[in-house]
Amino acid sequence: MTPFRVSIAAGVAAVILLLVILELIRSRRLQERYALLWLLTGIVILVLSAWRGALSGLADLVGIAYPPSALFVLASLFVLLVLLHYSTVISKLSDQNRVLAQRLAMLEHRLRQQESEEPV
């Protein structure tokens, strides 16, 4: 069984994580669409630190002798998931950034051409 102090510490950490995420959304520093995975991470950790039986069951299932390790593994998996998600987001952003720069270059060129054609 998980030591009580581990459960309490994990629970407190999860609550703090959730509050920080919610405040970041409220103050518009984090968009809802990028917050959902973080929220899911916080909720899963919170549930498993409160529902100790489920954590033990989960640890048994995958053959982890010490249940808090299962919590650690799961949290790491979620962080991996968030990272992977952000990698796709960054890829999309860099694609869009390239398109923006190209369109801007064309636009500036057209503008300069028009300006030089106009009689001064």
Binding site: L22, I25, R26, R28, Q31, E32, R33, A35, L36, L39, D95, Q96, V99, L100, R103
Partner: protein
């Protein structure tokens, strides 16, 4: 039919004829329907300027719309319906329009209903008018899940804006100058309609619904597929919840 409606629009409302008005038409790969939508808007009221916001289409939507002689804003890539519509509102704000009507480029919104949308705004009884599809019965089909979602949001939003709202997902809307200024500055990015209704109310603006008949969309598909429904529900619920704790500060009066 269209001419009859036009007479209702302009003859009954001399104020409307003087009002600078614009139809914002968001379009994503709608080359097959966009011209008809444009023609229908013109048939209803030629006084409407039309701006098509091409949301990064890969087909000839922008070209076809330009040939039809309307303003076309081409987004360099797909922003999603929220970003596209907001671009239209920014155009309306920056060019001094006093009335804006949002009409989807896929043909599901019947421009002949514009007169009904505009009427409460001209009467000064509303800042935003939403064309809703439930009061009329016919004309709308959707997946079961989507219907449930729509009703859940309708109930929630009704509570939040302290007013009965039946259809929060309709994108067939008209707003006055204040609404234009608000949406130009503040418009949610994806699945925007539900949040936009609440944001409007939080700024002290008045919304009314009018029943309209919507047509079955001819091309394209709803931006909400079954697989995305869960994301849609969670995202909008989260945004509504967070919105309760937000302070808004968009200036609605002219500077």
């Amino acid at each position: 039919m269209a001419e009859a409606v036009q007479q209702v629009v302009t003859r009954g409302e001399p104020a409307l004829a003087r009002c600078r008005r614009i139809a914002i038409v968001p379009a994503f790969n709608e080359e097959r329907t966009i011209v008809r939508v444009i023609d229908e808007i013109r048939a209803v009221d030629p006084g409407f300027e039309i701006v098509v916001v091409d949301d990064g289409s890969s087909d000839r939507t922008a070209l076809v719309a330009e040939r039809a002689g309307v303003h076309v804003l081409r987004l360099p890539f797909n922003l999603g319906i929220g970003g596209a519509v907001q671009t239209g509102y920014q155009y309306a704000r920056d060019n001094g329009f006093e009335l804006a009507v949002q009409v989807d480029g896929d043909g599901q919104h019947d421009p002949r209903e514009i007169a009904a949308l505009v009427e409460p705004i001209m009467a000064g009884t509303a800042d935003m008018v939403v064309g809703t599809r439930f009061a009329t019965g016919g004309g709308y089909r959707g997946t079961h899940l989507r219907r449930v979602g729509i009703h859940v949001f309708a109930g929630l939003v009704s509570l939040m804006v302290r007013q009965r709202v039946t259809d929060t997902t309709s994108g067939f809307r008209a707003v006055n100058r204040k609404g234009i200024r608000l949406f130009a500055a503040e418009y949610p990015s994806d699945y925007p309609e539900v949040e936009a209704t609440v944001v409007l109310s939080r700024h002290g603006l008045q919304m009314v619904e009018v029943p309209v008949v919507m047509r079955i969309r001819e091309t394209g598909s709803s931006s909400i597929t079954a697989l995305r429904s869960v994301y849609y529900m969670v995202k909008v619920l989260l945004a509504l919840f967070i919105g309760l704790f937000r302070r808004y500060s968009t200036e609605l009066e002219e500077p």
